[in-house]
């Protein structure tokens, strides 16, 4: 492992939101030893009590987020700063949100114990409850495979599949019990998930639903989230060990990098369109952008104390950092696309 350089993206952050009549111009911040011009950041304050958890890019350029504490899907327009909430129903406590291949928001709602679909064109909500005999699953995160099947995890020890065309749902037990957390699809459409309590990666056989466990080299590392890069390598954020690790399915090889800082706690991971790996660290109250080619880290401090970024997503040229602790969303413009 080598940490060649750490670049701190410091300085003032802009707060924008519905209360702001006009937005301040964006600024670029760069520390003196920055090897390259770093990205812009912009921060949006969300409605009080929303407790943002996950985010996803919407087709129209807005940002969806789960307002976990208010049982709603939030919609933030980063151009105007306007925000509105779509209530998801009595008892809702949404955890994850992604954009499906149909352009809809697909929500893993732990409060409703259901998968919820929000159609942005019609504003219609569809709700698929988990079967009664499954019990409370603590639904976590979803991903679509190459055939358009929605796969999801539940921290109480399950994963499952939902066919959007028929509504047919199947739920499976994780081989090692509680812990299934992050889930993602590779470019080829395969599905992998990680187990936080089980400290493993798993590949799902899309035909049978069987999960094959892949043990990372570090024992009890606390694999929390997973994301695939353009070459179908799986990047894993390890909560307990503080490592960012990479699994290469073609060879079965693992490689690990310890995050910078004294006591890193890696929470979320996301790989952008340039194969830059973004990983949030509760220990440093920051998110790092890791370049695998140079093994260098660029640091994006949280916008306030205990920012606690629990998930990361984006679209070409933009990375979204939902700060559950400050109830804000930081937008990083990477400059790689319009």
């Amino acid at each position: 492992m080598s940490i060649l350089r750490i670049v701190a993206v410091a300085g003032s952050l802009m707060l924008a939101g519905p209360a702001c009549a006009a937005q301040a111009p964006e600024t670029e911040q760069s520390s003196p030893d920055a090897p390259e011009k770093v990205a812009n950041t912009q921060v949006f304050q969300l409605p009080e009590g929303a407790r943002v958890h996950d985010v996803a890019p919407a087709p129209d350029g807005t940002i969806w987020y789960t307002a976990q504490r208010q049982g709603a899907l939030g919609i933030l327009d980063p151009k105007s700063g306007k925000i509105r909430h779509v209530p998801l129903g009595e008892g809702s406590a949404p955890h994850g949100v992604i954009q499906g291949p149909d352009g809809a928001a697909w929500i893993t709602d732990s409060g409703l114990n259901a998968i919820v679909r929000f159609d942005p064109k019609t504003e219609k909500l569809d709700v698929w409850k988990l079967p009664e005999d499954v019990g409370y699953a603590n639904l976590n995160t979803g991903a679509f495979d190459g055939d358009g099947i929605h796969w999801f995890t539940g921290q109480n020890g399950i994963y499952g599949r939902l066919d959007p065309k028929t509504g047919a749902m199947r739920v499976f037990k994780d081989p090692e019990g509680r812990g299934p957390y992050g889930i993602d699809a590779t470019p080829s459409g395969d599905i992998y998930y990680v187990s936080l309590a089980g400290s493993h990666l798993a590949k799902i056989d899309r035909a049978t639903g069987a999960a094959t466990i892949i043990e990372p080299p570090t024992p009890a590392q606390g694999a929390r989230r997973v994301w695939a890069d353009s070459k179908s390598n799986l990047w894993v954020s390890e909560w307990n060990s503080g490592n960012l690790s990479r699994y290469t399915p073609a060879t079965g090889d693992w490689k690990m990098w310890k995050l910078p800082g004294e006591a890193p706690k890696a929470y979320a991971v996301y790989v952008d369109e340039r194969d830059i790996v973004w990983v949030s660290d509760f220990g440093a109250n920051a998110t790092f952008a890791f370049d695998p080619k140079t093994e260098s880290w660029t640091k994006y401090p949280g916008s306030g104390e205990g920012a606690n970024v629990r998930q990361i997503l984006g679209r070409p040229g933009k990375v979204y950092l939902p700060e559950s602790g400050t109830n804000r969303i930081m937008v990083v413009r990477t400059g790689s696309a319009s």
């Binding site: 005999d133 019990g135 603590n138 399950i158």
Partner: protein, 118 residues
């Protein structure tokens, strides 16, 4: 082997209230009932009722809960009830992201279950 679900994810415990046991499923992914159950995301709930707050050796509690513990030394049933109802409201800044249980009867059943099962 693929095990399609037909039962709750957590194992059942005999001799305890069904409603309380069902409510505990909302805690199950992060909290064990046994002492020394290993590395889950939350501390064990073993003998939680009456236990000193933020006192499990080696567990990395949030600064918010540590501050709270200085004012409230033990988890009384009343405090547990308020915490389970809305963790963020009782302990702003807590690292427990649980959304809370709004039904008072369900909370009572849960706390009773925790008293009996651990």
């Amino acid at each position: 082997m693929v095990a399609a679900c037909g039962t709750a994810a957590a194992p059942p415990s005999a001799g305890t209230g069904v409603q309380g046991e069902r409510a505990y499923q909302k805690c199950y992914s992060c909290h064990a009932l046994e002492a020394g159950a290993g590395k889950l995301q939350g501390p064990t709930l073993h003998q939680i009722v009456g236990r000193p707050i933020a006192a499990e050796a080696g567990f990395d509690y949030s600064p918010a809960l540590r501050r709270f513990a200085r004012q409230h030394p033990r988890w009384t049933p009343e405090l547990l009830d308020r915490y389970v109802a809305d963790p963020e409201a009782l302990v702003p800044g807590t690292s427990m992201t649980f959304h809370g249980i709004s039904d008072a009867g369900e909370r009572r059943a849960l706390i009773g279950y925790l008293e009996r099962a651990s």
